[in-house]
C-alpha cells in the first residue's frame, strides 16, 4: 500500500515556471516544500521549457527593453486579444505585479538577453531569457535546490483527497510506486490538458486525433480534472485552445517553437480539396497566426497546404523542415499529394485576381486581390517564380483555456464562491481567469510567475501560521 512521507508544509504539483516560482517563494517564506514533477529530470519544466520571453510592465527603457510599457497600454493589449474575456481585477493585479519580475527573476538565477532577431516587435514589451525557457527552468531548479526545496521527478499525482473544500493528501505514482503525500497546503501548477487527446475529443471529436501538441506530453490535465471533480469552480471555455498552424511533419509532442510556419501571408493556403478557405493576408502574422490552427482544424482531415514561390522564400523565418520543392505547380501538387489540375486552377485564379501594388512585408501594404473569394487583402503577389514550394500544415495546440477560478490570493474558488483555505493554483491551470481568449506573447509566463509567487507566499503563510 501507499507509503507515507512525513507531512510537509507545502506540496507543489508541477515543476514548470509557476510551480518553481511557488516552491521558491514558499521556501523563502520558511515553509518545508516538496515539489512533484511528472517528467524525468531531462525533460522537466513542462511547457515552460519551450518559452523564451516574459511580458512585463516597466516605466522606462532598460538595457534589454527598448522603451516603457505601462499598465494602461498593457491592459489595452489584453483587452484587445481577449475581447473582454478577463477578470479585470486579477488582470490589473497581474500587470502591476509583473513589474517586479525584471528583478525577481534574475535574483533567482535567470539572465536576460536582448530580444532575438526576428522578434523586434516584442523588444519593447517583453524580457527575453538568455538561452530561453529551459535555461530559466534550470536556473529555478538550481535556486530551489540551494534553498532546500525537495524535488521528486517522475512523480505524477493521480488523485487528490479532499474534504469540505480542503486538501487532505495527494496520491501519486513515483517512479512506478504508489505514494501518498500529506501537506498542510497544496499549490496546483500542473498546466492544462492539451496533451490529453481523449479529453480534447470530448469537444473536438475525431478531429483531435490530428492535432499536434506543441508542448509536453505530461500536460494531461489530471489535477484540473481532480479539482473540478471536487467542485472547484471552472473558468474559461472548455473547447478553447490556443492553436496555430504547424508543419504537419512535426513530432506529435514537444516540437516547441521550431515547427511553426510563418509562410502563410506570403502565399496561399488550400485544404486537401484544393480550396482556399481564409484571407491569408488579413493582418500581420503575429496578430493572426493563432487563428490558423482553428481554421485548419475545421478543414477536412485537419490538414492544409501553404503554397508560395521563390520570391516568398526569404521573407519569413526558416523552420525546421525544408519545404516541399518543385519546378512547376503541377509537380508541386503531385509532391504534396494534391490534385494537380485543381492546384493549377486555384493558383491561376489567384494570380489573375492580384492587383498591382507596392509590396512591403513591414506594413499592411496595397498588394491585394480583387474579385476573389475569400480575398487576400495584403501581400498578394502572383505565384509565378519557380521553384515553387509547399508546406503541409496541421493545427498545433499550445495550451487550453479551461481552468479553475482563483481569487487574488491564488486560492481556488469552490462552487458557491467559497475559497478553499489550503488549495492554491498557478499557471496554465488558472490562466483562463485572466486570458479567457486569444493570446498575448509572453503573457502566459507572466501569469505563471505572478500567480506562482502569490500561491507560494499564501500557501506558506497558511501552512506555517
Amino acid at each position: 500500500m501507499a507509503e507515507h512521507k512525513s507531512p510537509g508544509d507545502v506540496l507543489v504539483v508541477g515543476g514548470g515556471n509557476a510551480g518553481l516560482c511557488a516552491a521558491i517563494t514558499a521556501r523563502r517564506a520558511g515553509a518545508r516544500v516538496l515539489l512533484l514533477e511528472s517528467a524525468t529530470k531531462d525533460l522537466r519544466g513542462g511547457n515552460s521549457r519551450h518559452t523564451r520571453n516574459v511580458r512585463a510592465m516597466h516605466k522606462a527603457a532598460t538595457a534589454y527593453l527598448t522603451g516603457p510599457y505601462g499598465e494602461e497600454e498593457f491592459w489595452d493589449d489584453l483587452m484587445q486579444v481577449t475581447g473582454g474575456e478577463t477578470n479585470e481585477h486579477l488582470a490589473r493585479m497581474t500587470i502591476r505585479a509583473s513589474e517586479e519580475l525584471g528583478e525577481w527573476m534574475p535574483a533567482n538565477g535567470v539572465r536576460w538577453q536582448g530580444s532575438l532577431r526576428g522578434t523586434l516587435h516584442l523588444g519593447r514589451t517583453n524580457l527575453f531569457m538568455l538561452g530561453g525557457g529551459k535555461a530559466m527552468v534550470n536556473a529555478y531548479y538550481n535556486a530551489a535546490a540551494k534553498l532546500g526545496v525537495e524535488v521528486a521527478y517522475e512523480s505524477e499525482v493521480r488523485e487528490l483527497k479532499m474534504g469540505d473544500g480542503e486538501f487532505l493528501s495527494a496520491l501519486a505514482i513515483c517512479n512506478g510506486a504508489e505514494r501518498e503525500f500529506n501537506a498542510k497546503a497544496i499549490v496546483v501548477a500542473s498546466g492544462g490538458f492539451e496533451a490529453n487527446i481523449p479529453w480534447l475529443k470530448e469537444y473536438w471529436g475525431e478531429a483531435a486525433e490530428n492535432f499536434i501538441i506543441r508542448g509536453t506530453k505530461h500536460n494531461q490535465g489530471q489535477m484540473l480534472k481532480e479539482l473540478l471533480r471536487h467542485d472547484a469552480k471552472p473558468v474559461g471555455n472548455p473547447r478553447g485552445c490556443h492553436a496555430v498552424a504547424l508543419d504537419a511533419r512535426a513530432p506529435k509532442f514537444d516540437g516547441g517553437i521550431v515547427t511553426r510556419l510563418d509562410s502563410v501571408p506570403f502565399g496561399i493556403v488550400v485544404n486537401k480539396e484544393v480550396k482556399r478557405f481564409y484571407d491569408e493576408g488579413e493582418d500581420f502574422w503575429p496578430k493572426r497566426y493563432a487563428i490558423w490552427g482553428g481554421l485548419i482544424a475545421q478543414q477536412p482531415d485537419q490538414i492544409a497546404y501553404s503554397v508560395f514561390d521563390a520570391k516568398a522564400l526569404p521573407l519569413f523565418m526558416p523552420s525546421v523542415f525544408p519545404p516541399v520543392k518543385a519546378g512547376s505547380i503541377v509537380e508541386l501538387a503531385a509532391n504534396l499529394g494534391l490534385s494537380p489540375p485543381a492546384l493549377v486552377a486555384v493558383v491561376d485564379e489567384f494570380n489573375r485576381a492580384v492587383r498591382p501594388g507596392s509590396f512591403d512585408p513591414g506594413s499592411l501594404d496595397s498588394c491585394r486581390t480583387e474579385g476573389l473569394h475569400p480575398p487576400k487583402s495584403h501581400w498578394a503577389k502572383a505565384i509565378d517564380m519557380p521553384p515553387y514550394y509547399g508546406y503541409p500544415l496541421r493545427p498545433g495546440i499550445t495550451f487550453t483555456y479551461l481552468g479553475v477560478t482563483v481569487d487574488e490570493q491564488a486560492r481556488v474558488i469552490m462552487q458557491g464562491d467559497r475559497p478553499s483555505k489550503n488549495i492554491f493554483a498557478a499557471g496554465e491551470v488558472m490562466a483562463g481567469n485572466i486570458l479567457g481568449k486569444g493570446y498575448l506573447g509572453g503573457f502566459g509566463l507572466t501569469i505563471g510567475s505572478v500567480f506562482g509567487r502569490i500561491a507560494g507566499r499564501e500557501a506558506a503563510r497558511y501552512a506555517t501560521s
Binding site: D42, L43, H50, L116, L120, F128, D254, V320
Partner: protein, 370 residues
C-alpha cells in the same frame, strides 16, 4: 574528407537551431548561423571553429537528448573540428596523427627524448649527464648551444609554417578572400575576442563546464595557460636576444628578465594546465567528443610537463639532476613544436581565423536584420 554523414547531421542540427535561435545571446555561433539558410561543408567548418565548447547551449536546449531531435551542438562542433584539423593539416600523410592523438603525441615526444638522450650519450658521454655544471654556459656543456637552438628553431618554424598553411587553406575553404584579412578593424575585434575569451563568457553567464552549473573557472584556467605560454615565449625570446646580441649566456640570474618571465609563465602554465585537466576529468561526457578529449589531454599534459620540467630545471640547475632534466625538458619542447600542426595547438589558428571571418561578416550584416 569530412564524412558525408557528419555533414548531413551538421546540416540537420543547424537547421533546428536556425528555426529556434534561443541561444543567440550565448556566443558567436548563433548570430553567425542566423545569416545562413543552408549549411554547406564550408559553413559547418566555419561554425565549428567559432564554437568554444562552453556548452551553455547544450544545457539550455529544449531539443537536447532525450528529445527526439537530439540536438547536441557542442558534441557536433567538436566532431567537426577534429575533422577540420585533420583535413587542413599538411602534409596529408600526417593527418592520421589526429586520429589517436594522445598516442601520437606521446610517441613523438618519447622519440625526441630517446634521440636527444642517445645523442648526448654518444657525443658527450654519460658523465656529462650526471655531472654538476655551474656558471655561464652550464647548459651548453650538456647540449651544445647550436645543437639546441638550430633543431629547435627548425622544428618551431616547421610547425608554425605548416599551421599557417592550414589556416590559409581553412580561410579559402570558408570562402574568404585573402584581401579581406587585411581588415584592421576585423583583426582588432578578433584579437580582442581571442585575448579575452569573449565566447567562454556565455553572454555573462559563464560556461556550463565541467557540468550544468555556470562557472568561470575554465576561462580563468585557459587564461593562465595562454598568458603563461606567452610569458614563456617572451622569456625565450629575451634569452635569445641576450645570447645573440649581448653575448650573455644562460643560465641567467634569478632576478633576470628571462628567469622572472619564464618562472611566472611556467607557474601560470602549471596551474592552468592542471586546472583544465581536472575540469576535463570531471566534465560531463554527454556533450563531449572522445577524439577531441584525447587531443585536449595530450596537449595539456605535454604543456604541463614542459612547464614542470622547466621549473624543476630552474630550481635544480646547480645539482646533478640538471643534465637529465635539461634533456627531458628539451624533449618536451621538441614534442610540443613538432606536434604544433598535428594536435590541439592547431585550434589557435583555426579559431582565430573563424573569429576574423565572424568580425567581417557581422559588420557587413549590421544594418539589416537577417
Amino acid at each position: 574528407m569530412l564524412p558525408p554523414e557528419l555533414l548531413k547531421e551538421g546540416e540537420r542540427q543547424m537547421t533546428i537551431c536556425n528555426a529556434c535561435r534561443y541561444c543567440e545571446g550565448y556566443c558567436a555561433v548563433f548570430p553567425a548561423l542566423e545569416l545562413r539558410r543552408n549549411f554547406t561543408k564550408a559553413d559547418l567548418t566555419y561554425l565549428a571553429n567559432l564554437c568554444f565548447d562552453c556548452r551553455d547551449c547544450y544545457y539550455a536546449c529544449q531539443y537536447a537528448p532525450p528529445h527526439e531531435f537530439a540536438v547536441n551542438v557542442p558534441k557536433l562542433m567538436a566532431q567537426l573540428r577534429t575533422e577540420t584539423y585533420r583535413e587542413f593539416s599538411w602534409p596529408a600523410i600526417f593527418s592520421g596523427l589526429f586520429r589517436r592523438n594522445a598516442l601520437a603525441v606521446s610517441l613523438v615526444t618519447f622519440s625526441a627524448l630517446a634521440i636527444i638522450l642517445l645523442l648526448v650519450w654518444l657525443v658527450k658521454g654519460s658523465g656529462v649527464l650526471f655531472g654538476i655544471h655551474l656558471g655561464e654556459g652550464a647548459f651548453y656543456r650538456v647540449v651544445p648551444f647550436l645543437a639546441m637552438t638550430i633543431p629547435a628553431s627548425i622544428m618551431a618554424l616547421y610547425g608554425l609554417t605548416m599551421l599557417l598553411g592550414g589556416a590559409l587553406r581553412f580561410w579559402r575553404e570558408t570562402q574568404g578572400h585573402l584581401s579581406e584579412v587585411i581588415s584592421i578593424s576585423a583583426l582588432w575585434r578578433a584579437t580582442k575576442d581571442a585575448f579575452s575569451l569573449t565566447y567562454l563568457k556565455g553572454g555573462g553567464a559563464g560556461c556550463n563546464y565541467p557540468d550544468a552549473a555556470f562557472a568561470e573557472s575554465r576561462r580563468w584556467f585557459h587564461h593562465l595557460v595562454f598568458y603563461g605560454f606567452l610569458l614563456d615565449f617572451a622569456s625565450t625570446s629575451i634569452a635569445a636576444f641576450y645570447d645573440h646580441f649581448l653575448g650573455w649566456q644562460a643560465p641567467y640570474p634569478y632576478l633576470s628578465w628571462p628567469v622572472v618571465l619564464g618562472t611566472v609563465g611556467g607557474i601560470g602554465l602549471l596551474i592552468g594546465t592542471s586546472g583544465l585537466l581536472v575540469l576535463k576529468w570531471r566534465s560531463d561526457r554527454a556533450p563531449a567528443e572522445a577524439q577531441m578529449l584525447s587531443m585536449d589531454v595530450a596537449f595539456l599534459v605535454l604543456l604541463l610537463l614542459t612547464s614542470l620540467t622547466g621549473l624543476l630545471l630552474l630550481v635544480l640547475r646547480e645539482t646533478a639532476a640538471m643534465g637529465i632534466l635539461l634533456v627531458i625538458h628539451l624533449a618536451m619542447v621538441a614534442g610540443l613544436f613538432l606536434t604544433i600542426p598535428y594536435g590541439k595547438f592547431a585550434h589557435v589558428a583555426y579559431r582565430y581565423a573563424a573569429l576574423v571571418r565572424y568580425a567581417i561578416e557581422q559588420r557587413r550584416a549590421q544594418p539589416g536584420v537577417s
